[in-house]
Amino acid sequence: MTTTSSPTSPAAPATPDTPAVRLDRITKTFGQDAAAVADLSLDIAPGEFFSLLGPSGCGKTTTLRMIGGFADPTAGTILLSGQDVTRLPPNKRNVNTVFQSYALFDHLSVADNVAFGLKRAGVPREQTRRRVAEMLELVQLPAFANRKPRTLSGGQRQRVALARALVNRPAVLLLDEPLAALDLKLRRQMQIELKQIQREVGITFVFVTHDQDEALTMSDRVAVMNAGRVEHCGTPEDVYERPETKFVASFMGTSNLMTGVYRSGAVQIGGGPAITVGACPQIADGAEVSVSIRPEKIWLSDFEPDMPRARGVIKDTVYSGPTTTYLIELAPGVTVAALEQNTARSRNEDRWVGGESVEIAWKTEHCLVLV
């Protein structure tokens, strides 16, 4: 990271089609370990709110650090607005980062923290002052300009970190689990606020998180990562409703993943019922498949005609405020979860209890058959 070289390729003229970030077959290995990031390619469009989502150790933070310049890829190239920055140190890249720990400068006031990048860039003092004030306004902290970061709350520190990065008007803002240290309520509030700020400034956000709610709520597109690879990249609706792999299906929310054998529009679950899934022309008869139905897409009452059905026994009832989850055993070893809004059966005695026999139903278009 200490070498400074001029970009290897001349900056291509940035057209609206030039991705803000292009990762071209990036690989990163640490010592003898398996690759933290393996042959990863991604395009992120200008102005997009893009999330890297995955469990810890999936390589999402390493990917972010490579974009920021804090880690060198072992192979592959990184382009920012068409310019090759693979070997550029962080201070030569037009990206800024909001760190997980915020990494505020404790010896400087809030205003000086925010002004740090502008001073390094040699922005005239008057302009610096104005932009810092604007930015503190944007993150709703104008009254705290002269305070030291230590005296602020977690949420306020988070805003300072955001302001300090945004004030430089980077082409891309990298956010490394910035909300992880906040409590749930504050996190919800900041999710909405971050999204609003992103719309207002129009800067590309690359957001790393392990929290699928967060990714789904805020992002234009989500890349679900596992073991150094992107498993599925698409809109929140895509990755949630139509996951391309078993990993994505099970990582995104609760899935009822059942394995069985596909035969003409139905999946015969080992030792259990046949689940009607509708015709899947791309799957050969006799193939081993997994079928997934989201808990909220399983009906327990008000069935529509021609819905496929199955019978089961309630094993457990989990009440959690607005919803209730029933664990229903269809056959020994085959259990599905079904989620119901607490509207129809709002009183305790109306809900089913363990041991009762119930009928479930679903729509074939909600069945996801994964090879």
Binding site: M1, T2, G68, G69, F70, P89, P90, N91, V95, N96, T97, F99, Q100, S101, A103, L104, F105, D106, H107, L108, F116, G117, R120, A121, K148, R150, R164, A165, N168
Partner: protein, 304 residues
């Protein structure tokens, strides 16, 4: 919080603890006051009080008799500052004082500069090299001073260097670096590496990141260790004793000879001044981190 019914618990014979009626009274007091350890260990308190008395008694004696009008160390006649004026008219002692101040200042600057660099370097050099050099840094700290004194003396003789103020300075710097490094190393290790990355992210070069972010964060510890080194070097006599030449000897060496060969009450005055000086400096070193709003300066000494 676990509450033990104080009346159910049998009192152990021979153990310091409140007697039964008092215990009943204690049980009614708010539990918090006891921090959960309800019996006050009377024995420990007596030892502590005795300890503090004996700790300050010798210092008090020196201070007291420095104001004695008589030469006696046992009978205090009446208040006088004659030994102080004797000191301020003693050119040999004054030149030693000047020498000590000079040595301490040079040693402070030298060891802090090198120690900061070493501490920053050692933490970066993680792995085997870092841990070995960390261990080597500790050796001078726990080696008795007489060994380091003998070793330095031999080295200078071996190299054919004439002993002088310069040799004292070099030795003091060498062995003070260990202090600075050990104090700063834990501070550097405790720094969040993301902070330096953040500085570079915001356009700072590596050196700017160190200068604008890392060093200011370490400033309290650096100042504290500088003051501490000044006081330690000023007070050190073993190393100085072994490496000093024919120049005016450092004050501590002079005092050592004076105490050995017949006690002059001037020593009381000089001693009082030195005590006052070093106590002020050490207290300052301990409280510097506090001035910067960090809690606790004591870990400076325990190295935690």
């Amino acid at each position: 919080m676990t509450t033990v019914d104080p009346q159910r618990r049998p009192g152990l014979p021979g153990l310091p603890g409140p007697d039964a009626p008092r215990r009943r009274r204690l049980a009614r007091l708010p539990r918090l006051r006891r921090r959960g350890v309800e019996a006050r260990p009377r024995f420990a308190f007596v030892v502590t009080v005795l300890f503090f008395v004996l700790l300050y008694l010798p210092i008090g004696m020196v201070v007291l008799f420095s104001f004695n009008s008589q030469k006696s160390l046992t009978v205090f006649k009446h208040f006088s500052t004659r030994w102080y004026s004797a000191f301020f008219h003693d050119h040999v002692l004054l030149s030693s004082l000047g020498m000590s101040l000079k040595i301490s200042l040079v040693a402070m600057i030298g060891s802090v500069l090198l120690g900061v660099a070493l501490a920053l370097g050692l933490v970066r050099a993680r792995g085997r090299l870092g841990s070995y050099s960390g261990l080597i840094m500790l050796v001078p700290l726990i080696t008795p001073e007489i060994v380091t004194g003998v070793a330095s003396l031999m080295l200078y003789k071996g190299l054919g260097v004439t002993l002088s103020t310069g040799t004292v300075m070099i030795s003091e710097i060498t062995f003070s670096i260990s202090y600075v490094t050990v104090i700063l190393r834990s501070r550097v290790a405790a720094l969040n590496p993301e902070v330096e990355e953040a500085a570079m992210d915001l356009g700072a070069t590596r050196w700017q990141a160190v200068r604008l972010v890392t060093l200011p964060a370490l400033l309290p510890a650096i100042l504290a260790s500088a003051v501490l080194i000044f006081a330690l070097v000023f007070d050190d006599f073993v190393l100085a004793y072994f490496t000093t030449g024919v120049d005016p000897q450092p004050l501590a060496v002079r005092i050592y000879s004076a105490i050995r060969f017949g006690v002059e009450p001037t020593i009381n005055a000089v001693g009082t001044l030195m005590l006052a000086g070093s106590i002020t400096l050490i207290a300052a070193a301990l409280s510097i981190p506090r001035l910067f709003g960090r809690s606790g300066g004591l870990d400076l000494l325990s190295g935690d």
